[in-house]
Symmetry: C2
Amino acid sequence: MTNPADSPYVRACRRLSVPHTPVWFMRQAGRSLPEYRALRGTGSILDAIADPAIAAEVTMQPVRRYGVDAAILFSDIVVPVHAIGFGIDVVPGRGPVVAEPFRDAADLSRLRDLSPETDLPYVLETVDRVVAELGGTPLIGFAGAPFTVASYLIEGGPSREFTKVKALMHSQPDLWVALMERLTAGSIAFLRAQVEHGASALQLFDSWAGFLSPSEYECFALPATTRIMEETADLGVPRTLFGVGTGELLSLMAQSGAEVVGVDWRVPIDEARRRIGPGLAVQGNLDPALTFASHEVLVDATRRVLESAGTAPGHIFNLGHGVLPTTNPDALQVVVDLVHGEGRAGVLQ
Amino acid sequence: MTNPADSPYVRACRRLSVPHTPVWFMRQAGRSLPEYRALRGTGSILDAIADPAIAAEVTMQPVRRYGVDAAILFSDIVVPVHAIGFGIDVVPGRGPVVAEPFRDAADLSRLRDLSPETDLPYVLETVDRVVAELGGTPLIGFAGAPFTVASYLIEGGPSREFTKVKALMHSQPDLWVALMERLTAGSIAFLRAQVEHGASALQLFDSWAGFLSPSEYECFALPATTRIMEETADLGVPRTLFGVGTGELLSLMAQSGAEVVGVDWRVPIDEARRRIGPGLAVQGNLDPALTFASHEVLVDATRRVLESAGTAPGHIFNLGHGVLPTTNPDALQVVVDLVHGEGRAGVLQ
């Protein structure tokens, strides 16, 4: 059996040569797959995540169906704060919703230390099961970056404006730092536990970082992310940092210590490589909306990403954001096969 | 009485010297003002827009309250397509909603030619009334850019993914061009009529252009915008082109023929100036979320925008997006006074 550390995905993260360009999809587990809907029924997604038999199966489904180069855990970035009892639910069609949003210093006590083995035993059992089944295919563990998790806790749910989180970070910087420290410690513990149970790589989702200006990102979000990278470096697995709409932030994100920076569809891969510099790998960046276009359009768009990635090592193909719930899985299969057949970044000729 | 063409706002659009940095706010008319809510009650916003007495008064309210350097018509970018009977409403808290979205070529017939004098007499009467009352303060007329208007018609309402509009533009380019041509013709007619009735400047809102990749913007959105600029150039008023999240698009937007490019809060003004080049003015770009932060934070952030704008002529202060409905008007007054007192772009010392 191949070692996941020698897999095309992990090698591409390390900017090593690969037999083919690796590809996986954010949100590949769940949502859009009919076999997922058949398995899960209509209960809460948090209940499904808490059942290792279901969660492991859902994690494996896209690996079997598509032949993608990595599995990503079927979970959600709010699972750790849910587990410590902050009071958060995931509402279908809406996203995370907090009954009593984070408002002041008293709310810090609602964010106790996370002990992954006792607070999230079901996630770690899912990791165990998936790693045993995956063989040489790597599992990507993940967590939400502190800014993005905090945005849910403070706004009370998905936001388009981020007024409350921005008001808090600017007007009460000490409280913001204290909140970031709590969330950072939890993310570090959770990420470390996933690797200790066999995850071969990590991704930190700072999904909404792109709503911050560069100076806000540098001051209020990057320090927590950098600390997470520092405190997971000894694990020896590649770490990817991803957010949406981060064109202005890529050079800052590249300073975090991550080995890979993920980019959305707004910045072509060649330009993203220039912004993050030669020492990091890049992940992306097909527009998920184009999986709804015609076959020809999808093929052309996939090829443009591969052309933009060029031949230099260090490209992991992905969408520019998560798979949308109504995506036709056949479209993703077209992408996987095309990337495997035509990707050239780091592929020995 | 001063001529509006010599006002600080119009002079700044033309990169001429000004007595003070001009400032106005997108969405300054309506929503956040208590005097607006007292006047309008709870009816549909489209009904209020269709009443020239109300619409003119709402347009004037922020000019009187804040002393901003320009009025912007109290209206909505979907007013023209509503007027020709496409079947669109503006739902409070949600935005424009289309009962039967645009799907195929047969829907083109639902977009007949716009005759502003007969289809939108109430808007033009509002312009007449406002211009008569404004004196030397300029009125900014506006329209939605064809891509952004089309996104509502095709998606059926506000979208976070733009899957339908992207699928259509890529997969049915001939239909897309035909749709753009209809909307472009309507925008040109509407903008011209507003200037003929006394508007001293125009702004084209391509609010959601930032969801397009640069190549998509260049191929599918910019041609219509460029045509609008060509067909309004003879009017002799400055035209501003604005969208949110357009960091990657600014150099393309600068090629449209507009005299001013508006930017959101993600790109500092000095960097925006570099991207759009020395021949254009720039508008922006205080993060509207920061009007919810403390007084000190708001003052600091406003000063940072002014510092970034520097001393070269051609800066119009604005928010990076529209005033949010729950904004405290006192915060905007702080901004106006600070900009008037401390702005230095093009201000003769």
